[in-house]
Assembly symmetry: C2
């Protein structure tokens, strides 16, 4: 019988079908069923379900910064400027935006994002990177990091033989975006035994294998701090990665959305921008991504962020600009939030009560994230048949479950992958 629909799985985009994204998988269906059973009063050894498959801190009680939300509300409704509901420093900050964005949040902005925000992002990057210059013209504000990745990958990939190197374990958006672009995934493996380190040897091995099988490797994605693996790269490792990208003519895409989530004692975040800019030997093409969804504000729903182009060909830059323009502009609330992320209140220009409240909230969030990173690792390590690397940064632990032979046999007999079998059962047989 003919379908009663014109558009079917048979004649729709194959690239969309092939894009894997764990949304309607076995796990997610089971979670949905458990949630429903719970709400209907069915008894379980637990009373609520906690979705840990994505970093979404405000779901777990993390509060937004008081200062940020006050400023945002006054920019959205400038009537508040003439009320006495906020501290005058809050109103002053809101006024700064309204002066620089005379048409307010309701007009389309420059497609690249408000100029004043891009200038502040550039200043933030320069301070972070010890003075290495940043140019507002190379900065694009986005609705979260996802949009920036989408635009960058779409620009780089020129055909079905093109491939991009991705860390394994990875954040699943990358493979999904590559499928959508009908491009090749070139996995490189992080070394779990060595704390999820990446070596130039393993990078070169993956590159060579892909090249031998006909893939034209075009770009290398690095996630630092690691998602979902939580390691922090050292400057030496980063220099090796940059040298590798240079040797093989790869565009480096640096996902640095967890740059503020550094918990390991003595560790610090170094940006790829800094490493590339300071290494005169390896002037590689670089795109770096940041977001308002992570860090300490965790404002996932507002959708803000930016990407920075470094050493990108001017004609290619114009093409990226055109692509960005097609999608009009990033949402303006997220743009203001991005500004609040890169230029928070400081002791010099803000009344002590405003600054102190901000600082206290920031410290509280950081301490809590750091404490939980430690707690979860300790807990996982205390479990039988579970091992886990230290969470040095970011927001995730990535444990290894050592399944006994019997469990693996049982999984096989049910035609399930052992890890899926474990997560569905919730215990080892």
């Amino acid at each position: 019988m003919a379908s009663k629909h014109f558009l079917t799985l048979q004649n729709m985009s194959k690239a969309v079908i092939e894009a894997e994204y764990a949304v309607r998988g076995t796990m997610s269906i089971k979670a949905g069923k458990l949630q429903k059973d719970l709400s209907q009063g069915k008894q379980f050894p637990f009373s609520e379900i906690t979705e840990c498959n994505i970093g979404n801190p405000q779901v777990f009680g993390q509060h937004p910064f008081t200062f940020n939300r006050q400023v945002l509300s006054a920019v959205i409704n400038p009537e508040l400027l003439s009320s006495n509901v906020y501290h005058k420093d809050v109103l002053k900050r809101a006024e700064t935006y309204l002066k620089n964005v005379p048409h307010g949040l309701g007009a389309y902005s420059d497609s690249q994002g408000f100029r004043m925000v891009r200038e502040n992002v550039a200043r933030y990057i320069e301070n972070r990177d010890g003075g290495v210059k940043a140019n507002p013209d190379n900065i694009y504000l986005t609705d979260g990091a996802t949009f920036g990745l989408h635009v960058s990958l779409q620009t780089v990939l020129s055909g079905p033989n093109d491939g991009v190197m991705l860390p394994i374990p990875q954040y699943p958006l990358y493979t999904a975006l590559l499928s959508l672009n009908q491009a090749q995934k070139v996995p490189y493996y992080l070394n779990e035994e060595q704390g999820w380190r990446v070596s130039s040897e393993s990078l070169q091995k993956s590159y060579d294998e892909a090249t031998r099988s006909g893939t034209n490797v075009r770009a290398l994605v690095v996630i630092n701090p690691g998602n979902p693996t939580g390691q922090i790269l050292s400057e030496e490792e980063m220099q090796d990665i940059v040298a590798f990208a240079h040797k093989n003519k790869l565009v480096l895409m640096a996902d640095e959305v967890y740059q503020k989530n550094i918990y390991k004692e003595g560790a610090k975040f170094t940006s790829f921008k800094k490493v590339v800019a300071e290494s005169r030997k390896y002037p590689i093409d670089l795109v770096s991504f940041h977001s308002t969804s992570k860090g300490l504000m965790g404002e996932c729903g507002i959708r803000g962020g930016y990407f920075e182009l470094h050493n990108i060909d001017e004609e290619v830059h114009q093409q990226i600009h055109k692509l960005r323009t097609m999608y009009l502009c990033p949402n303006t609330t997220g743009q203001v939030l991005c500004d609040l992320m890169v230029s928070p209140p400081n002791a010099q220009n803000y009344a002590s009560e405003v600054y102190e409240q901000f600082r206290k909230e920031e410290q509280g969030i950081f301490d809590s994230l750091k404490y939980r990173a430690k707690l979860v690792t300790q807990f996982l390590k205390s479990m039988k048949n579970v091992s886990c690397n230290e969470v040095e940064g970011a927001m995730y632990a990535f444990p290894r479950i050592h399944l006994p032979k019997k469990a693996i046999e049982e999984a096989n007999s049910r035609n399930l992958k052992p890890d899926l079998f474990y997560t569905m059962e919730g215990k080892i047989l």
Copy 2:
């Protein structure tokens, strides 16, 4: 000499390069130069530049609704709920959101959008369409209509021979998105002499020509009210279009973002959803788009909107859901704004001062848009060598400039298209 960049025009995405979008064109460069000259004090017969290439009402002094901005500000900063800065009905409305969205605007929402907003959108559609049922599960909230178009076209197009029918004149996003998807543009021509009407004959002619040259026509885009042509389709025309889509097995994509912008006396907006649902003979696949950027609120920068799937295959629907999920969620401020669009304050449930202020603002915006639609048409018609159809709806006039032979010859001699020559010169020779 080898390029110092790895990524160049030669090895980047051809699809991106081929996507045309008037962003760095001759006109736009000239406008930028004039703007700079003006700001440096150079004298011209004009004192400011008005960018009319995109509907951006708040740039031209249109105010956002007081009620909407008050509610949004209190949802963004719930501290305001305990202040006395707003009317209690404003606070009540804000509380409704915070009750239904317990984690606030800072958490990722359901990828499809807040359930309560989708329920209100469904209710709005049912009221608009005289009771035709709408299902919240078929509604996807978006950041403006653009994202919905992007997702829909990407889903439909399965290869380089697939094509989509587009009205000419059109909104340039469509051709750009088709280029990005490496698909064929199948233009159909609106009849200027007959007030930009579309006939089934002209549709069939375009379809047949494309088919003959090897294009597999998959979808038909209709923009109603027309952008940039301003005509409003009658129900009869719509029935013809639906019959045409059915006959040729085309997915219908209905861009209805100007559904509230109806100025012609006696005219009313009818949705394709209603026409399709009521025509049992032609149960075609339909996707309809709406936006918070246009209508009477004109909140372009906030980025809100929705699309509705009607009669879409369940497996295809799941693929669209997956694609939406990859991009996490639409910005939450835009989602609340979308709710405010579909369920504005009414006389029954709101204090008269709140309702009356809203109503007055709404009437003021509508009257002003309608007045300007008439004014600009009259003005264009009064110009020598210019003709223009009545602006029945939407936000644009699309005049015809009748260039004398001498001007066309001069344009040709300068190797310029006559219309570009005219716009660059600003006058007819």
